[in-house]
Symmetry: C2
Subunit: 124 residues, 2 copies
């Protein structure tokens, strides 16, 4: 069972998931676009994440290259489960309704969802 990443750790994982294996410097720059954050802060976090097994790293070069060690999908699924419990009393449907209601979805996205629903209905 893998430990649940904190919010700051999650931001780093996003960068790694979206950009693949990266140096601390790169990750720090990506984060920096949204809010200023010290280099050693990011470094320390990534070292902690390494100890926790959230990332792996290659230390061949002087500048170590970090890589996400947990899958995006699985992590999202885990966190979503916890979130649904915490915020929506376990009702995923309420969450879906809320999400659909709030965010304007494009026709394409709505079609995707409809397709998914049909698929579920057939299987069910």
């Amino acid at each position: 069972m893998q430990s649940k990443p904190t919010e700051a750790e999650l931001e780093i994982l996003q960068v790694l998931w979206e950009n693949g294996p990266s140096s601390v410097r790169f990750v720090n720059e990506q984060l920096g676009e949204r809010k200023e954050v010290g280099y050693t802060t990011t470094l320390k976090l990534m070292q902690i994440m390494y100890e926790k097994g959230l990332v792996s790293r290659n230390t061949d070069a002087r500048s170590h290259i970090y890589e996400a060690a947990i899958e995006r999908d699985a992590t999202q699924r885990n966190l979503l489960g916890t979130f649904v419990d915490n915020v929506f009393s376990g009702s995923a449907m309420n969450l879906v309704m809320q999400a659909l209601g709030n965010h304007k979805a494009s026709k394409d996205e709505l079609d995707q969802i409809k397709a998914l629903i049909e698929k579920i209905e057939k299987e069910g």
Copy 2:
């Protein structure tokens, strides 16, 4: 702008939202069904929540009665927004797909969602 409740605070809000105005004792008992938690811990949390304006309270009787001071819907919407950003890089649709894919929805629920989609499509 209301402050974002922490996880422990959220658990308490759930109890208040679902049961209406309640005493500390009652809230503590409800929480206790899921995991043991000391009475004064719950008390302290609720006092902090009062200071933050997350709950209001009636102190007429010796046993104070607390009530959620923020709306469930609005709170869920706020938290959902943050969550989508943190975990799904801002893509609410990805979240919906994930939620739909994982949790088996009943036919009724699926119908509800379809209805909602149609409504959105018409308005759009």
